[in-house]
Symmetry: C2
Subunit: 266 residues, 2 copies
């Protein structure tokens, strides 16, 4: 079993655990938490692909016992909408909601959709894999998750590690699993939050940038091979910022769009 | 009482109604439905501003009796997260979920936020109000809502009414209320879905473009005066499209970002 499948395993009754090793400085990554919740909720839905899924981040995801619970809001001909939550379970049995989720699930592979295509955009202009900069786990803030991933950043976007910010809030890179697990629609939720924040490339105040909410649209099932992704923040004001992501597969198909609302340090 | 306040009135017990006259060809507008749900849910939250709110659209909003119900998922120091729904109530008392909602509410006016600002974007380049094209209610598909609004489209984006599509999926315009009601954060949810779909300006297959999901980030309380907004679709494929919106107030402040996932006709 791949590391990601192991870390997103949810039993039939919703029992699961937030796995160690998918964190940033001790707090589980937001994309990992969304994928974990979606692994449970897509079973509730009875449909495999999170076509549109929103999570609100309510408390830190610390490793340990957890549960995914939810219910069907509507089962339609093409989509099923579910609401639910991922809760952590303390030593005393107390449950605490880590993320609250609302999602609509479908079956993208078997869906007889319109074949009309109009694209105003293309995959990010990334140098080949070999020329991009590996994202390591052992920086100033340990990013344990990077031992499990093969993330390589655009050389122009990787200088912030040395204090050299690109000056534009953009972060592009390659993403794959270290153990070679193929990408599917569930893992795209992890991809949506797996790169360093785009605002690390502008001169924001130092500190943590917590996610309030993230929404991912999964637009297609990814083809084999690593994906290219790019994240951009255009508007930082009022103590808030958005980060918009695009994920493109090896055939040049847009497979996911993401947007999150995050907070600036106060 | 203004028309919008009347149409979004929710009693303490959640009783409300989907008002006639906020529809497009008989179905209530998606932004109006979100605002109606938010009017009830922000009372549940005890905080006025929908900082991030997501609705999944499950059945058409037909005029008549309705109810907004929900509960607090987490009340924090700065934000309160609620989940809930807007249900229509049939003649036989049967309830049907129109939209399911997940939202985080705050108090933007009194919030002591970071004053750091970094903007990579500006309000849409709109001609003055007088030179923009009024959006009327009496087109091929009657848009009753337009009797209540003062929407004026960019002249370059208004030709689709005559079959002259701009060729780029963009729709920009001015928005205000016909009765002069000032804009607040609740009404920004209506703004987020009040212009014709941006894809009307490209050569998409004819037919209805139903919303699956819409998320709005309210970033600031709007200043007095009409707002300028722009909606763009970049990616149409697999039978789906996203529409991204920006809303800017009269002082040039970005007050809301929106994104919706919609379906192409099959």
């Amino acid at each position: 079993m791949s590391e990601f499948d192991d870390a997103t395993y949810v039993a039939d009754d919703g029992a699961t655990s937030i796995h160690d090793g998918w964190d940033i400085g001790g707090n589980a990554n937001g994309g990992y938490l969304m994928a974990l919740a979606a692994a449970g909720l897509r079973r509730v839905a009875g449909r495999p692909d999170p076509v549109s899924i929103t999570a609100h981040y309510l408390s830190p995801g610390r490793p340990g016992p957890a549960a995914v619970t939810g219910d069907v809001v509507k089962a339609g001909r093409r989509f099923t909408t579910v609401q639910g939550r991922l809760e952590s379970i303390g030593d005393d049995g107390e449950r605490r909601t880590v993320i609250q989720v609302l999602g609509t699930f479908g079956d993208l592979a078997s869906n007889a959709a319109s074949d009309f295509v109009a694209m105003n955009g293309a995959p990010p202009d990334l140098p080949p894999w070999e020329q991009c900069v590996p994202r390591e786990s052992n920086g100033a803030v340990p990013v344990a998750m990077m031992d499990r991933l093969r993330v390589r950043l655009h050389p122009d976007h990787a200088g912030w590690v040395r204090g050299e910010r690109a000056g534009v809030a953009e972060m592009a890179g390659w993403f794959g699993f270290a153990d070679g697990r193929p990408l599917d629609t569930l893992s795209l939720l992890l991809v949506a939050d797996a790169l360093p924040p785009a605002v690390f490339n502008i001169d924001i105040p130092p500190g943590w940038v917590p996610t309030v909410e993230m929404t991912v649209h999964v637009r297609a099932v990814p083809a084999p091979g690593p994906v290219r992704c790019v994240f951009r923040t255009r508007f930082v004001h009022g103590g808030m910022l958005e980060e918009d992501g695009e994920v493109w597969d090896s055939t040049g198909t847009l497979v996911a769009l993401s947007r999150q609302l995050a907070l600036l340090p106060r």
